[in-house]
């Protein structure tokens, strides 16, 4: 009797909860038994290369695609049995543009408000508030086709918020935008989360951006979540320092260093070898001595704390960019491009 309210309370602290959620396209497991919990009020990042299954995962959470297996709850509603309630309680910004170019910003927002049955008396007020939030007040009456990519993105964020969702999904919100616009989009997202307490689920493959924005992240690779936690936690778990050596024969260099017990990990990437060690400043002379002995010419050496990129390499054995070329990923991308079931 006493337990029930407590259980309800715990259930309600979760914005999202999935159990072995899967999506198969014939032989391909686009999403492979993902169990995931996102607490309310967090900015949660799904990180991974293109074709890792991030978009498919999100599509299932927003009820656009039906899961092949497992279950998912969004705001406490089952994505299959209570799709309508899920839809009412979330906002979505898609990876690709989804505005009507021929309508004005205002018309786009009004249309959205009507489709989500925002009370008529509220519409004007909310549209004003949201458009102000994303800094497009001056553009309200202009046709969307005159907007820049960044402005369209901001308008889409405003649109996704008009019906006051509890969760906002953002699929690659900054893809294809210039660095300055990217930074401003992230500022809006952070502001939203802080001021309105909205849970934000986003996907990106910009590791540095995820690092600075997300409270929690999950690394997705080949349809699976291979690591999750706060960015700091993930980086700390890796521990130590990263010594980066730029040199001529980087593969030979990597192989030589790999043998030593104090080298936790050595990975090569574009003529650079990243060596993960404890107390990096003490290891630099040691490393240089070893490399010199092999007659490998070193161009530069740097010492840093592990980044999310290093975390990614650690778990997947590759960098986020290299992964994009793998055949599995290419197939996933093709399926995404079709996106159409007959």
């Amino acid at each position: 009797m006493v337990l029930k309210p407590i259980i309800v309370y715990f259930v309600m602290t979760k914005a999202i909860e999935t159990r072995e959620l899967s999506k198969n396209y014939k032989e391909l497991k686009a999403v492979d038994k993902v169990s995931l919990v996102v607490e309310k009020g967090t900015i949660f990042g799904l990180l991974g290369p293109n074709g890792a299954g991030k978009t498919t995962l999100i599509s299932m959470l927003v009820t656009m695609r039906k899961p092949s297996g497992g279950s998912a709850k969004v705001n406490g509603f089952d994505v299959e049995k209570e799709a309508g309630n899920v839809r009412k309680s979330i906002g979505i910004v898609f990876q690709d543009q989804s505005l009507d170019d021929e309508l004005t910003a205002k018309e786009n927002l009004e249309m959205h408000a009507a489709m989500y049955s925002v009370p008529k008396a509220e519409r004007g007020k909310r549209i004003k508030a949201m458009i102000k939030l994303v800094g497009l007040k001056e553009q309200l009456g202009k046709e969307v086709k005159t907007f820049s990519g960044g402005m369209k993105r901001r308008l889409e964020i405003a649109r996704g918020l008009v019906h006051h969702p509890k969760i906002l999904f953002l699929d690659e919100p900054t893809i294809g935008l210039d660095p300055q616009t990217r930074a401003s989009i992230w500022d809006y997202i952070k502001k939203l989360n802080k001021e309105k307490g909205i849970t934000i689920i986003l996907t990106t493959h910009y590791m540095d951006e995820a690092d600075s924005v997300c409270g929690k992240i999950a690394i997705v690779d080949q349809g699976k979540i291979i690591a999750s936690g706060s960015p700091r936690q993930l980086k700390n778990e890796l521990g130590g320092d990263v010594v980066s050596i730029e040199c001529r024969n980087s593969e030979k260099c990597r192989k030589q260093l790999e043998k030593f017990e104090w080298v936790k990990e050595a990975v090569k990437h574009n003529g650079t070898v990243n060596i993960r060690v404890e107390k990096g400043e003490e290891k630099i002379p040691k490393i240089l001595a070893i490399v010199n002995k092999q007659g490998i010419k070193v161009e530069s050496v740097s010492l840093r704390k592990p980044s999310l990129d290093d975390v990614f390499i650690h778990y997947t054995g590759r960098t986020i960019r290299e992964q994009e070329a793998s055949p599995g990923a290419a197939m996933r991308l093709r399926i995404k491009a079709w996106g159409h079931k007959r």
Binding site: R87, Y116, K341
Partner: protein, 251 residues
């Protein structure tokens, strides 16, 4: 229920805003029917022995109105494909409204703009000297509305099955044009070769054109009650098929 009606209204409004905003589209859509009437209608005036009183222009005016209704509505239906290509379709598909409402909103919007074009053509024909004998304006509007909804639904069905705009040319050349030519819009079916007459019976536009002809100038190759019954049936069936196909779009 209220929610669905609001969504239908919003989608209907969108179709209207889009249609009237693109001035070139409005003018472009009226160009071809205008030339059909003004050039073909007068140029061929002595080429046919008509089974009715009145001139050839009067004979083809209902046919051209039928054509405008079909072209206009088919196009609004096929615009679903453009919505998909430009991403807007996703926004409607994830909204908390039923797919049926989306189809109905689109169909009503497309039908409204098609009817608007049809009425403009009627006015043009009037100024070209066509002597209309409209029995009931209400019946005319209802009939035009049904024909339009039927073809928007056909357009939506086709768009739901197509991947991109590449197939659009095929649809125009191998579906829209034959439907138009077979319908008896340009020549009387009563004097056409047997094979054409039989084929035209399978063309929904035949009933649309003849129904309009009956309402507008009081002549028809087919009894009006038949036209009305067939068009009503086609409209209901086509909209059901459109909803069913639209429901199967997964994204």
């Amino acid at each position: 229920m209220n929610r669905e009606i609001e969504a239908i209204y919003a989608l209907w409004k969108r179709e209207l805003i889009r249609f009237f905003r693109a001035k070139s589209r409005v003018i472009g859509s009226l160009g071809m029917p205008f030339f059909f009437l003004a050039i073909l209608g007068t140029g061929l005036s002595n080429a046919f022995i008509l089974p009715m009183e009145g001139n050839y222009l009067e004979f083809i005016t209902p046919g051209i109105i039928g054509m405008v209704l079909m072209f206009g509505s088919m196009f609004s239906g096929i615009v679903v494909l453009m919505d998909r290509q430009f991403g807007f379709l996703k926004e409607t598909l994830v909204a908390p409204v039923s797919r049926a409402s989306i189809v109905i909103g689109k169909a009503l919007g497309g039908a409204t703009t098609a009817m608007f074009q049809g009425i403009i053509i009627m006015l043009i024909a009037f100024f070209l000297g066509v002597n209309f004998q409209i029995g009931s304006v209400l019946l005319l509007l209802l009939f035009m509305f049904m024909v339009s909804v039927m073809f928007v639904s056909l357009g939506i069905t086709i768009a739901s099955k197509m991947e991109d705009m590449h197939g659009f040319q095929i649809i125009t050349n191998f579906l829209i044009m034959p439907l138009f030519f077979l319908s008896g819009a340009l020549f009387p079916l009563s004097t056409a070769p047997e094979i054409l007459r039989v084929a035209s019976m399978f063309d929904p536009l035949t009933y649309g054109v003849n129904g309009l002809r009956h309402i507008l100038i009081g002549y028809s190759d087919i009894p009006f009650t038949t036209c009305f019954a067939v068009i009503s049936a086609f409209t209901v069936v086509f909209i059901a098929i459109a909803i069913w196909s639209f429901n199967r779009i997964e994204e």
